[in-house]
Symmetry: C2
Subunit: 281 residues, 2 copies
Amino acid sequence: MAKKQTAAFQGERGAFSEEAARRLLGPEVTPVPCARFEDVLRSLVEKRVDAAILPIENTLHGSVHENYDHLQNFDVVITGETRIRIVHNLIALPGVKARQVRRVYSHPVALNQCLRFFTEHPEYEKHAHYDTAGSVKMLAEQQLRDAAAIASASAARIYGARILQRSIEDDRQNFTRFFLLRRPSDPRARRAKTARVTWKTSLVFTTRNVPGSLFRCLSAFALRDLNLAKIESRPLRGKPWEYLFYLDFLGHVEDPVVRNALSHLKEIAEWRLLGCYPQGT
Amino acid sequence: MAKKQTAAFQGERGAFSEEAARRLLGPEVTPVPCARFEDVLRSLVEKRVDAAILPIENTLHGSVHENYDHLQNFDVVITGETRIRIVHNLIALPGVKARQVRRVYSHPVALNQCLRFFTEHPEYEKHAHYDTAGSVKMLAEQQLRDAAAIASASAARIYGARILQRSIEDDRQNFTRFFLLRRPSDPRARRAKTARVTWKTSLVFTTRNVPGSLFRCLSAFALRDLNLAKIESRPLRGKPWEYLFYLDFLGHVEDPVVRNALSHLKEIAEWRLLGCYPQGT
């Protein structure tokens, strides 16, 4: 793993995507925050960064559909994945006590994932902010001493704030899966198969809209005992009520059985490989 | 079709959902606007309205995932569907000329669907509002004469405004599919099969997470030449990286072939019927 790689991600410093970047690229990665997912992909394609980190699904909310569309629209390759448990913490400036807090800032989704905490603390007023880590940044910038934020532990560290209460989220089964993306021309995008690793392959396909066509596409995998990890449908632009399918399955593109499955799929569908990468843990 | 039925929908009077309500229940329907989708379903379940209208997918943006989750969480039955073409119009108060307009209000999604119009009119400033029809309502309430809104033709009619320019959306392949929902106890929820109508059936299922299980579930339909219209996966709560599948297929639940398919599906999956209804046009 090369040192001092740059990785674009959406959100402020301290976002869960930054944690994913460190997990995927090592602690020396230089994080490059971007305002929008589209900017993340553009940064990668325009060679302003070495890699991009994209959340693709969450176990409570489902797929990040915008990012599935970006995988189709930008020329990028998935070269890794990781799963981060979303732990929400109550964070305030150093010296601020819980009883001083009146307002709690965070992204609306994070506020909604801590409803039990707010029921136990009716004295706290919820305030929606554009970003979880950004709400800690705001505490620091405005030196708010009657407010707290809900964000990751690393957001507290980055902005010099303190955790008042750890893990206040309602549901601990809250995980987000992130992709590590590279440019197709990047030599790091081509990773030879190594043993002792479970490989995953992602692709996108379209097929004719006739009875049984999706079934026949899946047969290319099922008849070869290849395990599907995920299927996602997205609308096909310009063809109302037809769909693109994104598929993740276990196996390496160089496995003979995977080659056969993909050549079988070619007979019945148009597909494009999105990447082949070690399964995340 | 009974007269003077009440139908809950999300949004302000003049929303596209209200147009769907008239299409599904006739022009005499009494529209009941609600702030959130959850309120729409709650109104129906708590018997405050006769029916509910829910957008379920759009040909540009894909499924309305929140509403798929509501179908699972509320005890309701799909009894009809319709597809509405989303036509965005530039709307202003009577007497206001296009050259007087400085600001244009609408929901961010609608603003983003009229980008060509804004490129052609750099003199207009885009302003995000919480609702398309609500932005016309605001023009009327605040008597704004230097502003316009982007909304449906019926929003213009309802709030006494005028259409300055029709159909300013970038993509005419912009359709939204709506469901008509009833309480299961409502006699109108049980619709006998009639000829000359194409019927559609919707269900939700879970299956064991083993290789080929989705393929085997789809075989119940494919092996009987039943045509799938839509498949949608959603995360299964409490079981990270496992999924619920929502399926729409053509056929009436009382067709012998559909009965056989559902009994076959029962052997390999747990499923629940969401509704059987005439295919929308």
